[in-house]
Assembly symmetry: C2
Homo-oligomer: 355 residues x 2
């Protein structure tokens, strides 16, 4: 029994394609509002003034200084409901992976009852989401194409995985990547590199995932090991992210992401940098890839924080291990069906203590 | 202004995934027939007896000894209408690129008035097609993912290009590739190799198309220049075809396909072998790729017919040139906006005379 992949059915790629957002929304407009959710780091940027706000446009800046929480998604959903008695004609998310995931989650929650925490898991969503469009301003997470909206809830960090979660349309405009700090650009890009490594070394791999994963990693190599013009590099990064997202659609992430979920649940470490911190210690699982990752970081003078877990209390450490080891599918992919014999709580603790 | 790519929104990949066709159709069944259009070379094969024919299944074998014609599509559409007064719940196409294109075209014609010849061109289709599913049994054409259904009409060979043309679902089961004759397998696979070459050497190329084209060509190289197990090779070919189709979604084909349209319009040469015959003479346009193509053909002892145009009358030759040079977009991609100064009717004639 193979998964029936849900693939984002409309895609525009190209510099300046942001200008086509108005055209994309036009056939959706029935007189209800269109909601724009934009990462608040973009406040005041010129592209904001070019948002197609005609009719009842609602602009909400979202804050993603911390990773998205189910509580925040519920608040934003309530806010949209308060601002408009009618269901929006569309919801547009503009930002990095966190903003993408918030936009996806709110689109789902506008048409489904209860709290977003109720839908963390697989295929729990019952009703089709509000039509939603994604425009990434960071490249690497693959959130623009993934079937999940990763949220931190009261008891776990886990995505809303459903056929209704993915965007109905994405616009991949490399111009929107400009201005991101070099560190953040690197950490986020490495998410797709790590997706590729985890897919290729995983037990779930097939030729579909392999083709996407290898190409995504090749693009990262070109960008961070060769000396490309930054304009070309950004275009390649955008495709690396898209391909990285598709590579795990048919496989799974692995050791790094599983440990990363624990780290970010307990310490609130952002996904991109968290992955980089962890991956740096995973030579045992991804030997070639970790060496190459270090070369890329070194070439671009990217700091890799250490001693993240120093002085951590026992309760926090246990929580971190609990969250990481709860991700059965990720460990199955990484280490096979008998993963529990390999990745014991002691082994996970040992890995965390090195970080 | 960038194209808004329509991408097949559901995909299943894997050996034996054919068995999931029944599950895929289940939510679509309302009591109307489901139409199965299957290439008649598959008559009597075991998988036919496993078609999910429950309820009102209609099995139509289609003949693609010649390339699909608008007249044939119109006849099949009429046949479906005669067999059922109600619109089918779904239409399933199982076969090579021609069968895929017929299934796509009939799905469109069931909901649109007139002849399929009226819709040859770009975005002429007004009404959504009947829900349609594609299962390729040959890999290379990319017809499983393309936005076109290529048909030979009374005045031209040209596709029905529209957002309603692509399949709603594809099932890529490498088991279905088994049993194809070695020559046909090669000729068809080379379609995706040539798609890659034409995309990469074309002027419309962007990083999206580049990533798909390079990966598709790499997969063809693995399959035909290395010594892979045939089972793995078929899996890779299936992805090469899918990626090749996506590579031209955002660019265009080029010299080989333009000349191929002329060749097949006048001589009825099948698309796959026609491309191979022509590509073999295009060193001037795709030098490295043509050499590599010859290596692949030689390694697998694939004959490349010659002297196709020997003894051709002047009327036929003029028609061939007319059809080939009418494909403005393809030539623009291959040779730039001033292509008419480069690819004159004399030059096209010269190329055809070599074949």
């Amino acid at each position: 029994m193979y998964r029936n992949l849900r693939i984002v059915p409309y895609l525009i790629f190209g510099r300046g394609s942001y200008a086509q957002l108005g055209d994309v929304l036009k056939p959706r407009r029935t007189g209800s509002p269109v909601v724009f959710m934009v990462d608040d780091v973009h406040k005041g940027k010129p592209f904001i003034s070019r948002l197609p706000m005609e009719g009842k446009g609602l602009l909400l800046f979202v804050n993603v200084d911390v990773e998205p929480k189910t509580k925040y998604v519920d608040e934003l959903t309530a806010q949209v409901r308060t601002l408009s008695s009618r269901q929006p004609d569309a919801l547009v998310g503009i930002g990095g992976g966190s903003t993408m995931d918030i936009a996806k989650a709110v689109s789902v929650m506008l048409t489904n009852p209860g709290s977003s925490a109720d839908y963390q898991g697989w295929d729990l969503v019952k009703h089709a989401a509000v039509y939603h469009v994604g425009l990434p301003t960071l490249a690497g997470t693959g959130a623009e194409v993934s079937r999940t909206a990763v949220l931190t809830g009261p008891v776990r960090k886990l995505g809303i995985n459903s056929d209704y979660t993915p965007f109905d349309q994405i616009i991949l405009d490399p111009d929107l990547l400009e201005g991101a700090p070099a560190d953040q650009r690197f950490y986020t890009a490495m998410d797709s590199y790590i997706h590729g490594a985890e897919a290729l070394r995983g037990t779930f791999i097939n030729e579909y995932s392999r083709a996407y994963a290898e190409t995504s990693m090749d693009l990262c190599r070109e960008v961070f090991l060769e000396d490309l013009d930054v304009a070309v590099a950004d275009e390649k990064l955008m495709i690396a992210s898209y391909f990285g997202g598709l590579s795990i659609a048919y496989s799974q992430v692995g050791v790094c992401h599983a440990l990363g979920y624990g780290l970010s649940y307990v310490l609130g470490v952002r996904h991109g940098i968290g992955n980089c911190i962890i991956f740096n210690h995973l030579e045992g699982y991804y030997p070639v890839e970790v060496r190459e990752f270090r070369d890329m970081a070194a070439k671009h003078n990217i700091p890799l924080p250490r001693e993240m877990t120093r002085g951590l209390g026992e309760h926090q450490m246990s929580e971190m291990i609990r969250v990481a080891l709860s991700l059965d599918l990720l460990w199955q992919n990484a280490l096979g069906p008998d993963w529990k014999k390999i990745m014991t709580p002691e082994k996970a603790r040992d890995l965390y203590l090195r970080m």
